[in-house]
């Protein structure tokens, strides 16, 4: 069930971006911000639906950490005078995120917890792959690149944490 977003995101973030023109910094900032927002929304949904302490703790961490990165990204683009530029990758991500929210919204209890954790594993794996292979290598501004690199370290932690969570829910 989470494969849909994983595949769609992988397609748009890696193959799509790589095959098309390399994204510029304004597009990279928009993609990273959008990806963060999707996980914040997923975390808020989990906090609204789940009663499992481990799931809720993880969701709180996602909301807090991704909000921190996005706040930092906003401050950076403001400082650089860059306007984040919407693009097909961001649009595809946002669409996939909205669909996933709807899909998970129909689930309850343990089924929701398991699906949320599984999607978090898949989503972070995809985003981390895109950061490492497309977004970071193409970022021109040193501060943006550095923020993305910090983000990648953080999201690898999230992926590991999501894998632990998913395993504990089986």
């Amino acid at each position: 069930m989470f494969k849909a977003i994983g595949f769609a995101a992988a397609l748009s973030l890696t193959a799509g971006v790589a095959c098309a023109q390399a994204p510029n910094d304004a597009q990279i900032a928009h993609i990273a911000y959008t990806a963060g927002n999707i996980d914040i929304a997923a975390g808020k949904q989990a906090l609204a639906k789940s009663h499992d302490k481990a799931v809720r703790d993880f969701a709180s961490e996602m909301v807090r950490d991704h909000t921190a990165v996005n706040d930092q990204a906003l401050a950076l683009v403001k400082k650089l005078g860059v306007t984040p530029q919407d693009n097909p990758t961001s649009q595809s991500l946002a669409k996939g995120g909205a669909e996933k929210l709807k899909e998970l919204g129909a689930l309850k209890g343990k089924a929701f917890d398991k699906a949320y954790a599984a999607n978090e594993v898949a989503y972070h794996k995809t985003v981390n792959g895109a950061l490492a292979t497309v977004l970071i290598p193409n970022a021109k501004n040193a501060e943006l690149k550095s923020l993305l690199q910090t983000g990648l370290k953080l999201f690898k932690e999230h992926q590991a944490h999501a894998e632990m969570l998913a395993a504990s829910l089986k």
Partner: protein
């Protein structure tokens, strides 16, 4: 050539003793009492910890990252929440080896060795 003034030599020796052996910063001097060492969190990592501290010494945790972290002993001997840009202190009253991690980001790890 004249030899260094004895007072200068004494001061130099004292400075060497007081200087932290690792990258962890230290405030204070053992001869004057407990030492405060600083361990800084940055870029999703704990900075260097002193090779060994002593009972009564304190670790000052400084979170220079943009994320909330914690310094949490694996045996729960301490569990310090580290908000962004916060400074927090842990004083050690018992000798031992304390592996620690960040509760939120378990890949972040370190170890403190506390001697009598």
């Amino acid at each position: 050539m004249s030899s260094p003034h004895p007072l200068l030599a004494l001061l130099a020796g004292a400075a060497l003793i007081a200087a932290p052996v690792s990258g962890a910063a230290a405030k204070g001097h053992k001869a004057k009492g407990p030492v405060v060492y600083t361990v800084t969190v940055q870029q999703m990592k704990f900075g260097p910890t002193p090779p060994a501290i002593h009972v009564g010494d304190t670790i000052e945790w400084v979170n220079n990252d943009i994320f909330v972290h914690s310094a949490t002993a694996k045996d729960h001997a301490f569990d310090v929440e580290l908000p962004v840009k916060a400074h927090r202190w842990t004083t050690f009253h018992k000798a031992g080896t304390y592996p620690f991690t960040c509760r939120y980001h378990p890949g972040m790890t370190g170890t403190l060795v506390v001697k009598d």
